[in-house]
């Protein structure tokens, strides 16, 4: 019976090539977008080199100072003063590291203008994040203390500054009219790791201006590494307790709020967080809504095409009913046919996704991007195919099965 359905499905697809193209295009295009987007999300949110411990990390991304009536607000990253005097005293994390936000500046090797990213960090940065050193090593405590002009640079920076395959350790790089000695080269961090991607990593003591003052806000992000993911709530609680003890020297601010968030929450709080909530649930709801709408469009399109195809096939429906097909059997047949169409669209979508992902990975539009379709993404895509097939097929199939036999037989006469 399925062979017969399959033959019919293929014949129907061949018969109306334009409709078939529209249907397949709708399904495959939507799936391609979904697959590529989920691959992006995967890259953004999953643990990846060198941030391999993300499941047991929390991030202090920002501090917010407000007054009680909410009319005055100041928001920013943590200051060195705040990290050094308060956060560093925390007991529950296994380790914590402080590093600056990335800043972009220019270097001029051989009179070429080169845009480079800088990041200042402490020693623990090299423990918390598992960098792969291709040459040399990170700066040590002495170099940090003495604010020595030393840097760790990325492999990409070596290529851009010195040329491909040239040993860099011991050489100098000049940035902002200052010369730094290269003491280590690390495998480049993908730019999708927003907090830690950089071309040059410097000891934070070289950013002398950030070390002064008693302002709570500054330019540092803190990563708290727990012994295990089970410890994360305890760390969050300790951080909240800690905040209560922080004096607020700022004249206009009497409320200090900040959160030790998981990686995803550290982003969602900024955009979607409301009155203490991390915005994570809103984010998932928003994503689900967008995906739903995105899936709905080709589904409705396919449903519409299917309904119009019913009249074309009414003679066949009449014949099948006359010779013993029940309404339920016909619904089954039509759903199988629709599933064949959607699975075909899914396969095309998958191939297109592989192609687009490969182009994106190799194009360099996003530096060091390594998108891939993993098993989870594949499963979700196949599930999306099934949902497509079922939703777009059920209503037309039901309408088809309800056709009166005599009317159906007359329709094509």
């Amino acid at each position: 019976m399925f062979k017969n359905y399959f033959k019919i499905a293929i014949a129907v697809l061949k018969r109306r090539k334009f409709f078939t193209f529209i249907s397949l295009f709708g399904i495959s295009f939507t799936l391609t977008i979904l697959i590529v987007l989920t691959a992006f999300m995967e890259v953004l949110l999953s643990p990846a080199y060198p941030d391999v411990n993300r499941n047991r990390e929390l991030f202090i991304n920002s501090l917010e100072l407000t007054n009680k009536d909410g009319s005055y607000m100041m928001k920013g990253r943590a200051s060195f003063y705040f990290v050094n005097n308060f956060v560093s005293k925390m007991k529950t994390p296994e380790k914590l590291t402080m590093h600056s936000s990335r800043s972009t500046t220019n270097a001029y090797p051989n009179d070429r203008k080169l845009s480079v990213d800088l990041m200042y960090s402490d020693l623990a940065f090299w423990d918390v994040y598992q960098f792969k050193f291709l040459e040399g090593k990170p700066f040590n405590a002495q170099q940090l203390k003495n604010a020595e002009q030393v840097v760790v640079i990325s492999e990409d920076m070596v290529h851009k500054y010195f040329g491909e395959g040239v040993p860099a350790v011991g050489k100098e790089v000049e940035v902002n009219n200052l010369k730094y000695r290269v003491i280590g080269v690390v495998k480049t961090v993908p730019s999708t790791l927003i907090y830690i991607h950089s071309d040059i990593y410097l000891p934070y003591t070289l950013a002398a201006n950030t070390l002064k003052g008693t302002s709570l806000t500054g330019g540092y992000v803190v990563t708290l590494l727990a012994h295990s993911s089970a410890d994360l709530p305890a760390i969050q609680e300790e951080y909240q307790q800690l905040l209560k003890k922080v004096p607020h020297p700022e004249k206009y601010h009497d409320l200090l709020s900040s959160y030790a968030d998981t990686y995803l929450e550290s982003f969602t709080r900024d955009v979607l967080g409301r009155s203490g909530s991390s915005g994570r649930d809103r984010f998932f709801l928003l994503m689900a809504t967008v995906i739903f709408i995105f899936l709905l469009l080709p589904t409705v399109n396919l449903m519409n095409i299917n309904v119009s195809r019913i009249m074309e096939r009414s003679s066949e429906i009449g014949v099948r009913k006359a010779f013993g097909a029940s309404s339920r059997t016909l619904v089954g047949q039509f759903l199988v046919e629709n599933m064949i169409l959607t699975v075909l669209g899914g396969c095309i979508g998958l191939i297109l996704s592989l192609l687009i992902i490969s182009i994106l990975n190799s194009s360099g539009i996003i530096a060091n991007l390594s998108l891939k379709i993993n098993f989870t993404v594949l499963c979700y895509s196949l599930l999306a195919c099934l949902v497509f097939g079922l939703i777009s097929g059920v209503y037309p199939a039901w309408r088809m099965s309800k056709l009166n036999v005599v009317t159906a037989l007359k329709a094509n006469n």
Partner: protein
């Protein structure tokens, strides 16, 4: 075999009510070949559709093999049609996307029969109508007479006790029409299949056991 009691069929729209069949009482015996004649629009096809359980009467009862059929649900009705009745239509109603043999197999798809068995029975049915050399052709590659023979093969493949034929020779020239008629007569004679045939052709009707005439939805003899 088939018994129609006080059958009425009324088509209603918002403004018009049309009496298509009026108080039809009919018995068709097992193994009988009955033809139905009458002018266009007199209700012949409607009567045949009601007999074949493709359409429901507005009033009356239909008994097939002494079984009440109007109370059957969709699934049972489908099974009943599948096992008892074969249809032949004036315009063949073959599925152009399927090969001849797949078209003939169609009624067997809705039974518990294996693919091998279906293929065997379909090939046998095609041999009976003299089309065993066309099994892998598509309907569009056949002449009108050949299409109707495929339709007959499809009607008989499940070995139904009843065949209902709605103007089976209506679209064919007289030579082809005669060929089809011969096949139907042979089926009736050799297999004992009960046949009810709607026709406009008195010559064809003359060759059947009995003739029922309809006029404006009523039996006239």
């Amino acid at each position: 075999m088939i018994q129609l009691k006080n059958i009425e069929k009324v088509y209603r729209t918002d403004t018009v009510e049309t009496q298509a069949l009026n108080n039809i009482n009919l018995r068709v015996a097992k193994g009988e070949f009955l033809s139905i004649m009458g002018p266009s629009g007199c209700g012949k096809s409607t009567l045949l559709n009601i007999m074949g359980l493709l359409d429901a009467p507005s009033k009356g009862d239909i008994l097939i093999d002494a079984q009440q059929t109007l109370s059957l649900n969709d699934r049972k009705l489908a099974n009943f049609r599948n096992s008892k009745i074969g249809f032949i239509f004036q315009s063949y109603h073959l599925i152009n996307d399927l090969q001849v043999v797949d078209n003939v197999e169609l009624p067997l798809l809705y039974r518990n029969s294996s693919a091998k068995e279906r293929r065997m029975l379909a090939t046998e049915a095609l041999e009976k109508v003299g089309l065993s050399n066309r099994i892998h052709h598509f309907p569009t590659q056949l002449s009108g007479g050949q299409k109707q023979r495929v339709a007959i093969a499809r009607a008989i493949v499940g070995r139904p006790e009843i065949i209902l034929a709605d103007e089976p020779t209506g679209n064919l020239d007289s030579a082809m029409g005669n060929e089809i008629m011969n096949i139907l007569l042979e089926l009736n004679r050799v297999e004992g299949t009960t046949i009810v045939m709607v026709t406009h052709d008195p010559n064809m009707a003359q060759r059947t056991h009995r003739l029922l005439r309809l006029f404006d939805g009523s039996q006239v003899q």
